[in-house]
């Protein structure tokens, strides 16, 4: 940890950064997000596999505009979110100083291209427990799946913590806040909850980088991450597109080719 602290401390003293977003010790051994503005605060800085919050979620905060250069300590989910945000023109190359720690060594990424390479070489295998759970849901009949999701989603309170925790939910105005026309029912009733979660999943289909923050933030313990995970698996197998791995836009649901065989595209 001292290498990391020394490095970040140097970035502060040489004026390269004036804010560093990392982690400090939180409850039950977890790391919690921490914002450092002075090198003397860095003795609290930690990084390990229990630092799970996706820090890319903070980059859209207007409070950060006053800092001239921000450093981010990125876990794997954060790196993928940064790539996806770059592909969607939400962040620019060189805008942030990005660090991670791998095999006990501090890695500083020279540019987003370097993150792209790192992510390509380190993509983890899907969590077998989650795949087993998805298989279990898939093995149910249509009626049983409907019953499962309506029951799970009935407890949704529509706090939108899933949206707030998602680094890819950056719309200035969410569709659910639009009331002329009101596309999605706002009261947390059965139908409105289904509509909201279908809309959320569809808007992340092929964009979700699978960090799991939506599910972790859900105060009602609803397994909502499986909705986007399932959609992503379909997109990967049909189109070969893996979100959060490429700097170029590669988004199954909003790309087209001019030589498409279908007439309507021309």
């Amino acid at each position: 940890m001292s290498e990391l602290i020394n490095k970040v401390s140097q970035f502060f003293s040489s004026g390269i950064i004036d804010l560093f977003i990392g982690y400090k010790k939180g409850r039950l051994g977890e790391g919690k997000p921490a914002f450092f503005t002075k090198p003397e605060q860095l003795n609290e800085l930690i990084f390990d596999e229990n630092c799970i919050v996706n820090l890319a979620v903070y980059l859209r905060k207007p409070e950060l505009k006053k800092y001239s250069k921000i450093g981010v300590l990125a876990n794997f989910g954060t790196l993928r979110a940064l790539l996806q945000l770059a592909a969607e023109n939400q962040i620019a190359d060189g805008q942030y100083l990005i660090l991670t720690v791998a095999d006990g060594k501090v890695l500083e990424f020279a540019n987003l291209k370097a993150i792209e390479e790192y992510v390509a070489n380190n993509l983890p295998k899907p969590n077998p427990e989650r795949i087993a759970f998805l298989k279990e849901i898939e093995s149910k009949s249509r009626e049983e799946r409907w019953e499962f999701w309506t029951r799970e989603l009935a407890s949704c309170i529509r706090c939108y913590a899933c949206r707030a925790a998602c680094p890819l939910c950056y719309c200035e105005q969410c569709l659910v806040e639009c009331n002329q026309p009101q596309w999605v029912g706002v009261p947390p009733t059965g139908m409105g909850n289904l509509e909201w979660h279908i809309v959320r999943a569809m808007h992340l289909a092929g964009r979700c980088i699978g960090c799991g923050e939506c599910e972790a933030a859900c105060p009602m313990e609803i397994p909502i991450g499986f909705l986007t995970q399932k959609l992503n698996m379909a997109i990967i197998s049909n189109f070969g597109q893996v979100p959060g791995t490429k700097l170029e836009p590669d988004y199954a649901l909003s790309t087209f080719k001019v030589d498409d065989k279908e007439n309507f595209i021309r």
């Binding site: 939180g26 409850r27 977890e30 919690k32 997000p33 921490a34 914002f35 503005t37 919050v53 979620v57 903070y58 905060k61 207007p62 409070e63 309170i157 529509r158 706090c159 939108y160 913590a161 707030a164 925790a165 806040e177 029912g185 706002v186 009261p187 947390p188 009733t189 409105g192 923050e213 972790a216 933030a217 105060p219 009602m220 313990e221």
Partner: protein
């Protein structure tokens, strides 16, 4: 006050008898990692060993979504229907003393001036059975806001687990009636000193010193810095036993529909956004400030009571682990 004892082996029969009599029993129930107040079908479903439910007992009388009225078109007229009052009593079983104390605030807010029809209709049919805390965790701070972990405020009956069974204090007439109805489950007993069975909850700050400090805190320069980890999920308010903000929404078709009251939160940007597009609380730090000042200053000015009961839910549930205790102490430091 009257005192009773329920033998350990009788508590199960008592709860099952309540359910069999047609009463709705809302009790702590495990769901994955957390415990939620849920309607239970038998005593076996109840989690008896828990520090705090993830959400408060307020949902018994102020649910996340309730019908205010339904409406239907009848020629040129519109006919309104009030929702029916609940037929049966609801028993909130195992409510922690902090949640009980929260009802002091909730009843002031909803019932004091212009009593709220919907809140009252539920409150009148609800019996609160409190349970003394025998343990707490690092997020509990009821004693810092003037509440004790064996406080009887807001409870109709108060249980304390002892080696002989559950010692019960009969606090209100409502509670007394319930005990009379189910008298065969209880034994007569003397008043006991509950201290031995009560958790020792450390004081985390001095609320009277805070009171002096916080009145001038609106322009405190550290609001932004201390709230940076907040990404505005609103879970703090939704799980808070005293947060009362709501939104009104209609769901309708061409022939009729319903008007709903649903939970809302000052953590969301849309909460204060004007139709013009202007938002007086543009940044999350301004929303966070509102939440803290509302708890420790605004309700004190308006109703002469703090609206934080020290349950610690906002800390336990926060995905970024922001702590209201740390926040208050930062304000005290200046």
């Amino acid at each position: 006050m009257e005192y009773k004892l329920i033998k350990l082996e009788k508590i199960q029969d008592f709860i099952n008898a309540l359910i069999a009599s047609g009463k709705q029993v809302l009790a702590p129930k495990q769901k994955k990692e957390k415990v939620f107040f849920s309607l239970v079908g038998s005593f076996d479903e109840i989690a008896m060993d828990y520090i705090q439910t993830a959400f408060s007992a307020k949902s018994a009388v102020f649910p996340k979504c309730e019908e205010l009225y339904t409406f239907e078109k009848n020629g040129k007229d519109t006919i309104l229907h009030n929702p029916p009052a609940p037929e049966n009593d609801t028993i909130v079983f195992g409510m922690r003393p902090c949640d009980g104390a929260a009802f002091d605030y909730l009843t002031t807010f909803f019932l004091k001036e212009n009593p709220d029809y919907h809140f009252k209709m539920r409150y009148d049919k609800t019996i609160f059975v409190g349970l003394t805390c025998s343990s707490g965790d690092e997020f509990c701070f009821c004693t810092s806001v003037g509440i004790s972990p064996s406080d009887t405020r807001g409870s109709d009956l108060m249980l304390t687990k002892t080696e002989n069974g559950y010692y019960m204090e009969i606090i209100t007439e409502k509670g007394k009636k319930l005990v009379e109805q189910f008298s065969n489950f209880f034994e007569q007993t003397e008043q006991i000193d509950k201290t031995k069975y009560t958790a020792n909850i450390q004081k985390r700050f001095d609320s009277s010193a805070l009171k002096e400090k916080i009145s001038g805190a609106f322009n405190w320069e550290r609001w932004e810095e201390t709230s940076l980890p907040c990404f505005g999920c609103g879970t703090c308010a939704f799980s808070c036993p005293t947060c009362t903000c709501f939104d009104i929404q209609d769901e309708a078709n061409l022939v009729g529909g319903a008007r709903y009251r649903i939970w809302d939160t000052c953590a969301l940007g849309i909460f204060t956004k004007h139709a013009s597009g202007h938002n007086p609380r543009e940044k999350q730090s301004e929303r966070w400030r509102n939440r803290i000042l509302h708890k420790f200053l605004y309700t004190d000015e308006q109703f002469v009571t703090l609206s934080c009961v020290g349950c610690g839910r906002c800390i336990r549930n926060c995905p970024a682990e922001l702590s209201i205790i740390e926040q208050v102490n930062a304000i005290m430091e200046g």
